[in-house]
Symmetry: C2
Subunit: 421 residues, 2 copies
Amino acid sequence: MQDRERRVLAQCDEVLDQTLEMTSDLVREYSVLGHERGALEVMEGWFERLGLPVERIPLDDPSLAQNPHHAPVDWPLGNRYNLVAALNPEASGPHLVFNGHLDVVPAEPTDTWTRPPWEPWQQEGWLYGRGAGDMKAGIAAMVMAVHAVRQAGVEIRLPLTLQTVIEEECSGNGALACIHRGHGGDFVLIPEPFGARIYSGQAGVVRFRVRVDGVPAHVLDTSAGSDAIETMQRLFPALKKLEAELNAERLPPYDVMAHPFNLNIGRFEGGNWASSVPAHAVIEGRIGFAPEASPASVMQRLVVAVQDAHVELELPGEPPRVDFHGFRSEGHLVDLESPGVCLLEACHRALTGRDAEHYLSTCTTDLRAFHVAAGVAGTCYGPVAERIHGVDERVNIESIRHTLKAYALFLCRWQQQVVAP
Amino acid sequence: MQDRERRVLAQCDEVLDQTLEMTSDLVREYSVLGHERGALEVMEGWFERLGLPVERIPLDDPSLAQNPHHAPVDWPLGNRYNLVAALNPEASGPHLVFNGHLDVVPAEPTDTWTRPPWEPWQQEGWLYGRGAGDMKAGIAAMVMAVHAVRQAGVEIRLPLTLQTVIEEECSGNGALACIHRGHGGDFVLIPEPFGARIYSGQAGVVRFRVRVDGVPAHVLDTSAGSDAIETMQRLFPALKKLEAELNAERLPPYDVMAHPFNLNIGRFEGGNWASSVPAHAVIEGRIGFAPEASPASVMQRLVVAVQDAHVELELPGEPPRVDFHGFRSEGHLVDLESPGVCLLEACHRALTGRDAEHYLSTCTTDLRAFHVAAGVAGTCYGPVAERIHGVDERVNIESIRHTLKAYALFLCRWQQQVVAP
């Protein structure tokens, strides 16, 4: 390792406390869908304090909706944006992107948390809070890595873009908006909290909603109505059957996993009153599938599965309505031979003395937008988190330090590879 | 029929349009739990226009909560009240009560309605809207019956109390508050929309809530969590088994019905995000039972059924939490020999030329409070409605006319029975 690199790594140790502070500042802003503004403002403040140029990339850009990779959504887009800090945008040379998402998934009901999920706390080497792991610590690490490099006296001369986006948890349209505005770059690193492993591929994901309308009635004669909650439950086996089929069809590299493609019915809402026969029921869920399958084909199979179940089970009422909002994301495999991935592996070896493990994912990340919409290579590499999307989510503090160092070292070497020092 | 009675009935025809107007005014105020204020203000305006004295009976009276028949609830009580119009409260002689409820059950999702449920409309002899049948038309009929009697020149000299209450659909605490304040009277008629039939008894009802906490996790490994929606569904058979037992135990007069005691799971809410394994699920429901059973015994059986299912099915996580809010109402049989009921039967015969049918109910009404908390006899007799608690709820307009006349005639004869004309 060069002296300069050692200086950079020492500087990473120096800025760890600030990194935790930024993470905590972001956790305090509970940035669920539609409520990202507080986190965006905190992030913008940090970019400014660190002397990084910052630009807002709105999600309601009309031309974005025309992008073939845009996912239709049914929530408002006004005043919602990503933040991009573009260094040396006019410089020649390969353009590096660090990307992370500011949005988090809901934590309700919060009474199961040890402390309120938007009041970050530290305990025995872990930082807790909703989004602490997924992925505010990763964002803080990637941003502070750039700061550490500069603090160590290393001038950044190549184009480097930091992106902190929204809608990673629902549509992927945030990252897509950055790419749509020309910020795709040539290689992207995303510090998703899957640990210090090279992310080697991800599943496709479609997000769906099914609505059943029953025939409502008073409970004095429940037989007069048809219970939408009960009808909805009778559809579940058809969805599970589709899940089983998608897993049975799996090919390498997913064949080494027993069940990589998960169905999740993540929300169920039905009826409105204890003494009214439920007149409606809605579920929202997601289903994973192999990189070989197209989102459109899986959407079609899901619609057919529900329609067939309605007919075969002779379910009452109108056929259920299936619609799709948010993710309709292809899976893909990471090009593990790409120069950026090879460089990351070298950095990992330099820092740990060991080869990096690979991590094949059963979910999706914003890597998808870079891969499918811009043909940009990239991978994820980040802190270690536990219980993401769960209760008492937490991120390991030493793993944040490692992420800081890995991103800083990567940035130094990326620049050195192509530009004389 | 006496001339005076004929004049009163003719006056009822005169005020039918006003009765429909009052019904529509009330339907326009969508008076679901916690939002009854608009309907109360409209009602108060009508009482005042008709020259009837009006008094507010608050539900947050601290002594009410000490009443042994009060149902514990977990929603706010401040600024929520019933309206009582007490005529001749100081007069001697038997005290007659007409009682109806202003609260309605939710109509959401309203997109299944032909028109918005709070925009009343008439079509082919029916008046439509949420609460049109259950029971704003009944309230309008009972109030306008009093007005018609007075307009016909018949002086009301006995104590008569009109009560328009809230919380009939959830706790029964509204009617109880009237009784608690001394407005129980000696006989009560409630124009619930079960038609021109003598209500002969009602089931007991307990309202319950069950909450399951899962072990939340990211969908990348659904097996890491335990799905609260799925766990909740696995409890349903235990609840259905209790329902079957309660029906198997039925005694006369409920033995002539195949299934008088209904379980209804009227609300299901679980999870919070398509791609998070559901961390919680809550159901709200009601279960009916025989007049012989006590609410406490049924509540106990329900708790045991859920706890046993949790153990026997080896369900994951903590035992489900069962709690009770709102109805914990005894069933009871109406004393069909009481003078008031006999008089109502006579009025029915006078108006229709036929004996009244009896109607044994599988649900509960505010009659319960009069029976159990004050030992006051009474029954229901009212308009014909369809799809109460359902979509496109409607009430038959000719049946409103009949209810008007029956209540007016009853009032005349009630007075004549005990006071020389």
